[in-house]
Amino acid sequence: MSDEVTRKSGEPAENSSARLIERLKAGDEQAYEEFVTEYRERVYRVAWRVLRDDEAAEDCAQEAFIKVFRHIGRFEGRSSLYTWLYRITVNIALNKLKRDRFRQMVPLGDLPRRDKRASTNPLRAALSSEVAERIDEAVRQLPEKQRAVFTLKFFEGLSHREIADIVGCSEGTSKANYFHAIRKLRVMLEDLR
């Protein structure tokens, strides 16, 4: 996958991406807004699927973009900008999950779930069904890292190499986490098929 922000016709994506990074480093606000607009859906989606909560996902996404803004000067291009952004997002989300679990000192699967009736999103509330609840419950049962790997692979379609880079593990570990997640979900959702 390559960065596609502000790509002009006929211009190689790398050049476009390199120029965007330069503009971001120079503090160009317009470039920053373009960057946010390009990636916000992906960042929010990953955050939501790891955290399973609207407000927490928004906080996580905003924090991720702010951290990119703060640390763009240290970005050296060893990985692509979007991989870096994903890594920051996943780290924030995983840290939040750990903090919440530590604060409440309850097993992972028993963390309080979002009350869908109280959801601020009417469409989401309308979609609330027994199946969705069961899937939500099953995904929450996955350990944090497994949940992140599963999200990046299953929903974002990233390769295990990219996921390994984002999550900070080997390609083999990424695969193992993903297979474990799929097998667990299969068992937990067996009766729904």
Partner: protein, 192 residues
Amino acid sequence: MSCELNKDLLIEYIDGDLSSDEARLIEEHLEQCPECRAEMDAFVGVRELLLDDGYVEPSPFYWTRFNARLMQRIRRPSLLSWHPAATPRLVPVAIATVLFVVGFTVGAGHLLGLRGPGGPDVADSGQDSVISLTSKQHVMSGEGVIELADYSDTLRPSTFAEPTEGPQFILARSDRSQDAMEERLSSEGFRD
């Protein structure tokens, strides 16, 4: 379960992660192995279920507000000062702050009687006492991290208890070296 095929290969097959040769071998195996066909159906079934996991894409209006909130947070002066492009502007400000605090502290020392009748002139004594730097402000510069004293709560009573010693002001390189800061940034995932 009698078939010894690694079932993870079925997951990879469904995800399209196998090479064309590997995929062909799996297809040939599935034709003659009912057990793996059942496994395959199970994985396909759970995959279809999971696609509707309750996530709903927010509305365009939500995204407009998202950008507005984010840009508002970024424009806050405290955050702007973090941006690398803004950092050089901080250095003279920081130096001016330190000079002001130094002047203020010396003046306060005089007012509080450090220059007692017949006692030594603290400001001119050339001797050292220590102001503890308990609260520090980190300033990033091209040369590394500098810690500047925040003197708001740092005057140690002993400075006044030992009027024979003059104050020493410290503008030191960080105890945490640049390397340590680099390491911390890497561990938190801010390194690309």
